[in-house]
Point group: C2
Chain length 497, copies 2
């Protein structure tokens, strides 16, 4: 065995350990959001900070640079997967070494503290109690962005973005978002004039029945409960590790429709994790390929397939049966109207797919300013409300339904928001390509059968891990680079034809 | 600041990190037993192995020896708590350095694997499928015992025992257990002749009502749900960290009585964790003082106070109300008979307090042989059945209700079992002392009020952390060293007077 081969082997061992640490982190994170009593917060923050720091030390130990150098000497002898694995090792190492260890600890503690404050502040609609901690967090985020920017020779915002969506740059997003901001408001107005009001679907929908229905629908999508769970959290998310992929939702006993779509959305994320190449488990190339691709998977199942006429027709009689519903409100046509209602709204996670990008564009603009240092936490509410007025023509009555609605900034995620809308663009491209490749897809959905879609996307996306760049995956799967055309076609067909 | 003071400060930081790692481990362990889907086992084992190894590295890094030496130079200037803290650091360090890193990893993996196998083997009553893995585990345990024995100049079994009950030696246990084996079988026969049969308490007891009752009873004992949880697992246990102390139970819808006492038992453990000195959180001296003291706390609440005539009289009408019970079976007298039924049985966790020590003595004898290498996993079932016959006069019909009933050996706990019975002895001493110190204790229990007991034990035991040796805590609290006299008095008074 050459030195170079041995070095690559040593790196693989080290990344296996890193994956185990990150898996442990994922359990701590899931537990905090679903199970942990309030009084456990301080101890949990210490646990998470310790694991963050140890993961950072694992990546930044001096011998890792030497191993990477040595392993690189025979890179030409490696096959495609190993080459991509080594490249990902380099990228992850570069992100880690760019952030000093003490900043990792300070960030981890400040994220935990600010997120816990946010939970209380949002419930009490008390932004003033959050702002100082958020300002401190922004200062640390800017410190991190500056350090990464210098290391990578990038703009600070791009340096953060790269951590969520490898290779993505703000200049490209600016272009895509300008197109969306150009045509979406007009489409929104056209749809609003044209759409027929849905009859309200009224009743009392007990949590246990909603949960049973959610599990049933997860089964249609192929969720494997021997390798995952469904639980409740304030904000739906997908957590855990590929072998134990856990999704959450939240229940409203007066409205089952949102929880159900949240379940489909998170199942989309979970299928991606479960479908990652098993033989590369624990290695960088075996990981999911950033948040744009991840969001494309949740939206592929929720927005593209889940709200298709075919699947809604299949779903309607099952809903009727699950909740004992009666009358025209429970017919497929009305359910479709319900799930396709378009209009300006205050809350991003409740927004329809036509206006959702406008919510994201607002956050993207604001977080770029915060990272640039031209917008402070103190001035955020005013900027938020002004942006809402411009983009959506509506202003929130309070900060709880305004700039405090999302967990992202209080938990330190800056550079994440744009991936929601980039994911929506990608999902439209992927669904169109899947239908071309598997013409039976629609009629199978009409029988509640997601198999053709799952098979296609598993081969084209899930099984690719991080072998290719996000846009290379998309190009290979759809024949097109990331753009707004498929998305525009999708919403014009769905809402205006 | 002197070098020595700086060294002690550096050690405190390192032990804070260790506590955070062990807290993370506690969450992973709790989750595995309560929440994890079966398919997550392999990934979880990797996570736990990684954290074990990192904790081991944190303790055994070369600089720790140097810091301990340097901190020891000014030990006379430290106050009692800091001195005890430094002494505990040394003890923990000695246990860690005695075990080589590769053995830590092999042990962690083999424990996870054997425990998962045990779950299946017990369910299928298939000991043969467990034996090879158990033999491998015993080999590793013997390797660990030998390494520790050499480092500490102890007998191998004593070296393991010391990890669960600091300072405890088998020679002392031999004496105590010989006394118990001497008088318990005779007392058992006397009680069996004298006791009146309890009327069966029959009905369907839904899980949700049992859970509600359990939470209510936890409230009587002072359990704080902002700092803990109640969940379900196959085997009841207390997990988590002092700020987030989680107990579990299991439910049988045909019999609520066992789950209820399990809840009281685990709440006793949890109160100990919650009552540890807050100002020493994360430091060795702030930890609980070994498993004998820990078990004394669960048994103090379950066996001593929980099955007292006073508390059972208070409890009986509440049970009646909770389950809509009617008739003489639900009267205090009958409930008392039910909770004080004595006789030989197959399952340790279901045994009464008179015969329980005989179950422990069996396990103690067998595990000493396994650690000594004179009993292999293959020969365990025969040795088990013979021991049951000798000690309890009964033989299990299968291994599932025989040598496979406990999780301890398959999860690698050798040297743990005796602490159950030592804890029972200590609990009898502590309860007698508490009643002397707080004469109102009995009448308060008759009102469902555990406050005097909790206050006394918090001061005498919980708040002491690891400042003293287990037997010093006991001596200070009760005026007597650990012995069988108080326990014998207790059972003679309760069962024969």
């Amino acid at each position: 065995m050459s030195n170079s081969t041995a070095a690559y082997g040593a790196l693989k061992n080290r990344f296996d350990r890193l994956a185990a640490l990150q898996g442990a982190q994922a359990v701590l994170h899931w537990d905090r959001a679903t199970m942990m009593p309030e009084g456990g917060a301080r101890a949990r923050a210490e646990q998470q900070a310790a694991l963050s720091l140890i993961a950072h030390e694992t990546l930044t130990a001096p011998e890792v640079s030497e191993l990477l150098e040595s392993a690189g000497e025979t890179v030409s002898e490696l096959d495609h997967w190993d080459r991509a694995n080594l490249a990902e090792m380099r990228r992850i190492h570069a992100h880690a070494t760019a952030t000093p260890a003490d900043l990792v600890t300070r960030l981890s503690r400040q994220k935990s503290a600010t997120e816990m404050l946010w939970r209380k502040a949002r419930a009490a609609n008390d932004y003033a109690s959050l702002a100082p901690a958020l300002d401190e967090l922004i200062t640390l985020i800017r410190e991190q962005a500056a350090a990464k920017a210098e290391a990578f020779g990038l703009d600070p915002y791009d340096a953060l973005l790269d951590g969520y969506d490898p290779g993505r740059r703000a200049a490209e997003i600016d272009g895509l978002f300008a197109e969306l901001a150009g045509f979406l408001p007009g489409i929104m107005r056209q749809v609003m004039e044209k759409q027929k009001a849905a009859l309200p679907i009224e009743g009392h929908f007990p949590v246990d029945r909603q949960e049973r229905l959610g599990r049933e629908v997860m089964g249609f999508l192929g969720f494997d409960f021997a390798h995952g769970r469904l639980d409740v959290s304030h904000h739906p998310f997908t957590g855990g590790v590929p072998e134990d992929s856990r999704i959450t939702t939240r229940y409203d006993e007066a409205d089952f429709t949102r929880s159900l779509m949240a379940v489909i959305h998170e199942t989309g994320h979970s299928l991606y994790e479960r479908g990652l190449p098993e033989e590369w488990r624990g290695q960088p190339v075996g990981r999911s390929r950033g948040m744009t691709i991840h969001e494309s998977q949740s939206l592929l199942f929720e927005m593209q397939a889940g709200r298709s006429e075919e699947f809604i027709s299949f779903l309607a009689p099952r809903l009727k049966e699950a909740f004992g519903g009666e009358g025209p409100a429970w017919e497929p046509d009305n359910l479709l109207r319900h799930y396709r209602k378009v209009g300006p709204s205050l809350i991003r996670v409740d927004a329809d797919e036509v206006t959702y990008p406008l919510h994201v564009i607002l956050r993207y603009r604001l977080e770029r300013q915060m990272v640039a240092g031209t917008l402070s936490a103190r001035d955020l509410p005013a900027a938020w409300n002004e942006g809402m007025k411009t983009l959506l023509g509506t202003v929130p009555p309070d900060d709880a339904s305004g700039c405090m609605q999302d967990i992202h900034w209080p938990s330190g995620s800056f550079g994440y928001f744009p991936t929601y809308t980039l994911g929506a663009l990608a999902a439209a491209q992927l669904f169109a390509a899947a239908k071309r490749a598997r013409p039976e897809l629609g009629e199978r959905l009409a029988r509640g059968d997601f198999t053709p879609l799952v098979e296609w996307v598993r081969e084209q996306v899930h099984g690719q891990g991080s072998r290719l760049a996000p846009d290379e995956i998309l190009l290979a799967a759809t024949g097109e680079p990331l753009g707004t055309a498929a998305f525009r076609r999708h919403i014009e067909t769905r809402y205006l034809s």
